[in-house]
Every structure is written in C-alpha cells, then in structure tokens.
Amino acid sequence: MTQPVPASPMFWRFNTEVHRLVGIKCQDCGHISYPRTKICHECGSQNLKEYKLPHKGTIHTFCVNWAPPPQFEPPILPVIVDLEGGGRYGGIMTECGSPDEIKIGIKVEMVFRRMLTDRGLNVYGYKFRLAEEG
C-alpha cells in the first residue's frame, strides 16, 4: 500500500491563490501573471494589483503529445490559452473526443479536476475543455 505523505511542502504552496486563480496585473506595464507575485515578471515593477484569472479563453496554440509522462494515456493535449481580457494560461485538455476537435482560436474553459495521485494524496488543478455554446 502506498504510504500517504504526512506533510507535503507542495500543498503548503497551494495557497488559495492557486486554486482560486488569483494572479496579478501590473499597474505599470499591464502584464498579467499567475500565480500571485510581488514583482512583475515582465518589467520588474512592484506596483501590482491582484487579478483573478477568468475561466474562459481561446486556444493560442496546442500540440498532440503521443509521448506523455508514464502516468498518462496518450495522446494528451497541452494547450496555451489566451484568456478573456488578457493574459495567458497553460494546461491540458480534458473531455475531448478527438485531437481533431482542437484548433487555434476555438473557445475553451477551465474546469477543476483531479490531476494525479502523488504518494497517496490526490492533487487537484485546472484543465481546459471545449466551451459550451452561448
């Protein structure tokens, strides 16, 4: 039986901002970054405001990974998504019948899913799926 890890440092770092999608928007250069940071990754400014990432966006680019890490059933579909209102986020697609459904520019939305099990602990995060119409 897998031994659960009594204290995983990673979970300490999964602060609410990660699961609640809290990032920053730089008040000087406009760069949106996630998760929260004290210094803008783009321009170094400390003049930042908290910014909650929207769940919706369009696919900026993607690939069809037939050689994923061992825990995954190939293929997996990594995507980079242009979020509504600016900024980008990356992840993998879920609930997708065929890679042929994925194209640059189509609408997707984030859904909260179990990502994997790490030494007995479930690890949660966001995946993307095709957005429902309307």
Binding site: S8, M10, R13, F14, V18, H31, S33, Y34, P35, H41, E42, H60, T61, F62, C63, V64, N65, W66, A67, P68, P69, P70, Q71, F72, P75, I76, P78, I80, G87, R88, Y89, G90, G91, I92, P99, I104, M115, L116, D118, V123, G125, Y126, K127
Partner: protein, 396 residues
C-alpha cells in the same frame, strides 16, 4: 571581451550511445583530445582555471558534480574550477564563463569542458529527467507543467509557426534532411546517415506536428576548449580563433508569460548582446551552429539571431541558402539533429565545429569563409527562456 580572448585548442569525442564509457572516461578523452589539438603543444600545468559544464550527475546517480569532478579527473588539483549548469545552454555558457575568466585579467590560460551521460537511463526516463516528457512530478503545480516538456513546448511553437507564418511539416522536415546530410560527413556525429523528407513525415508522431525525425536524439558526449589571453595565443598556435562576442539572453520561466510562440525572446536577447559586443551585424557572419533540438527550433533560431525576418527562414532553407555550400551554411556539423544533445557537451561541441571551420580544417564539410566569422547558439530550459550566443573570428 573583443580582442582579449583566443581559443587555442578544441577537442571532443564521437557523440553516441557510449555505454562502455563513464562520465570520467569521457571527460578524460575530450580533455586529452583538446590538449593534442593545441598546435604547438601546451604544458597542462599552464591551465590555471577551468569551468566544468555538467547537468546529468544527479540523474545518473553520481550526485551533483562539483569543480573537483573535473580537476581530479585531469590530475590538476591546483585548478580553480566551478561547475556550470544553465539548462540546454550549459555548454555555450561554460565557454562564456571561461572567456570571462581570461577577459577579467585574472587567468592567462583556462579550460572549458562539458560532459554528459544521457543514455544510462532508458529513453523515457532520460527524456523525463531532462524535462522532455516532463512535469508529471508534483514539485511544481501539476497543471502548470504537466506533460509540457521539451518536445511538447517546441511542438506548441511549431503549431503556431504553421498557423501564423504558414510553415508546413515539410518545411520542418527539410531542416532534418539538411542536418542529417551534413552529419553524414562529420566523424563526431551520433547519426551519420542521410534521410529524406518522406522518411521524416512517415516516422512516428512524437508531439504533433513534430515527428520522431524532427527531434534530436538522447546522446552521451563530451567536448572541451582551451582559451587564453589573445596576446599569448601565437605561442600555442599559428591559427588562433578569437572571441568577439558572448552573451546569455533570458526570457520568462513560465510558458504562459511568454510574449510569442513564433520567436524565442531569449535568443533575440542573447544575439543582440553578442552582436553589440562584437560590433558586427548578422550579415557579417559566414556560418553558424544553431540549436536544432527540434527542426522547427532551427527555423526560429535563424530568425531570432537575425539571419532572416520572421516567416522567411523556411523559404530560404528550401532555396538552399542554409546548405553547406549555400550563402549562409547553418549547422555544417549536422547540428543536434545528427550529433544528439548531451546537454553540457552540446555547446562546446558547437564551439569545436566553429573553431575547426574557421581554421579550415573541417575536411569534407568545410564551408567557404568570407569574413572569417562564425556563430554558436543554444536555447532551452523551462519555457525555453535561457539562451547563449558566442561569436568567434579568425582575426583579432
């Protein structure tokens, strides 16, 4: 830097699946080849400092390597020596640090050496360890990196290059065909055989739109260079090669912070810095060894270094401009496609090629020199945010 630093010797071993050689064996062979390459000879004790490029030590169970891993192996315990690890540009950056050691005025003669064991682990593990399949582990947030190692990151660039620049899988395949041909003429290459566009497109899909033959292999290897004060160079060789520019360029550590997926800003920054230092422009360069870990990456490299405008590289490649006897030979050695990518050895292997070409000692793969200037470039790491460019010349 310009005018202060010269390369007086280079050495490498044949890259490949070197199951019979340990890290130590490879270090010693590359070092001895490098000493032999110094035309008028050198007393090894004249080398007072070294920079040791190394990534894989922990990965193959030998722990994180230190300066002593090199100093002890070459029997020079009086060396001042640091280990360098800077992702895929480790080799090129190890060379840069050695050059800075001389340019600073602290040392007269120094060594840069990189060695890497990639094949001691099975392919999947090796690729995962190098971030290649990467991100299944939970050291980072799982939805940030999951399944987004090297092939996936570059494949996402390739998809965007096709969408935005009109590039095709045939365009990518032509890079592999060119580099395999060049590699077939290089005795140090891992792969020394020709391939065709059809063979690339019929090979298994690794990460669509990239096929198996769009990807460089996992390879063992080692390479080295001895660098000295430019005013002392003629004591060691009649054909010194001088370092004109050397710069690292960086970009974001997270893929979604990146501004572009048809360009690598890290490479743009490294090239800008190196060209400024050298006081020359891209059109002054005779040939270049670029980081073709994937075929689409070479097309971006060509554009980001400034050899072509965005969207132009594929056509120029098709027209033969980047062939060994074209207007601007790119990867006359066969590049990473033919040599493989033993991370810390890769950049120094490219330096070996640039120096060998500038001395006109490249035999069947010799390119035509006009200005006597060659360029070396690496890119990689998380989000491909680390790059290095070195510019070398026959004249001081």
């Amino acid at each position: 830097m310009k005018g202060k630093v010269a390369v007086i010797g280079v050495g490498m071993i044949k890259f490949g699946e070197l199951f019979d050689k340990s890290l130590e064996n490879m270090i010693q062979e590359a070092y001895l080849n490098c000493l032999k390459n110094v035309q008028k000879g050198i007393d090894p004790k004249e080398i007072k400092a070294a920079w040791f490029g190394q990534w894989s030590g922990g990965f193959i169970g030998q722990g994180a390597q230190g300066g002593q891993s090199l100093a002890s192996m070459i029997g020079n315990l009086d060396l001042s020596c640091s280990r360098i690890e800077n992702a895929c540009p480790t080799g090129g950056d190890t060379f840069r640090n050695a050059c800075l050691g001389v340019a600073s005025g602290v040392f007269d003669v120094v060594l840069a050496l990189g060695a890497e064991k990639m094949r001691d682990k099975p392919s999947a593990e090796s690729l995962g360890g190098a971030g290649g399949g990467g991100g299944a582990e939970t050291g980072n947030h799982p939805s940030w990196m999951m399944g987004q190692g090297g092939p996936a990151i570059q494949a996402m660039h390739a998809t965007r290059q096709m969408h935005q620049l009109g590039y095709t899988m045939e365009d990518f395949a032509r890079v592999a065909v060119k580099n395999h041909h060049n590699g077939s003429l290089c005795p140090y290459a891992h792969y020394q055989f020709d391939i065709t566009v059809e063979r690339v497109l019929n090979s298994p899909v690794i990460c669509w739109p990239l096929h198996l033959f769009d990807c460089c292999p996992q390879t063992d290897g080692a390479a080295a260079a001895i660098v000295c004060r430019a005013d002392l160079a003629k004591k060691y060789t009649d054909k010194p090669v001088y370092v004109w520019g050397s710069h690292t360029g960086l970009d974001h550590n997270q893929l979604w912070d990146r501004s572009s997926f048809v360009s690598q800003p890290s490479v743009v920054r490294a090239a800008k810095g190196a060209f400024e230092m050298a006081g020359i422009k891209p059109q002054d360069v005779d040939f270049a060894e670029l980081h073709d870990c994937f075929t689409n990456t070479e097309l971006m490299d060509i554009e980001d270094v400034g050899f072509a405008r965005s969207g132009e590289a594929a056509k120029k490649l098709k027209d033969g401009e980047y062939d060994m006897h074209g207007k601007l030979p790119i990867n006359p050695s066969g590049g990473l496609k033919a040599h493989g990518h033993p991370i810390a050895a890769t950049g120094l292997g490219q330096i070996f090629e640039v120096v060998t070409q500038l001395r006109e000692e490249a035999d069947k793969r010799q390119v035509k020199l006009k200005n006597g200037i060659g360029l070396q470039q690496n890119v990689g790491g998380p989000a491909f945010g680390a790059a290095v460019v070195n510019i070398l010349s026959r004249s001081r």
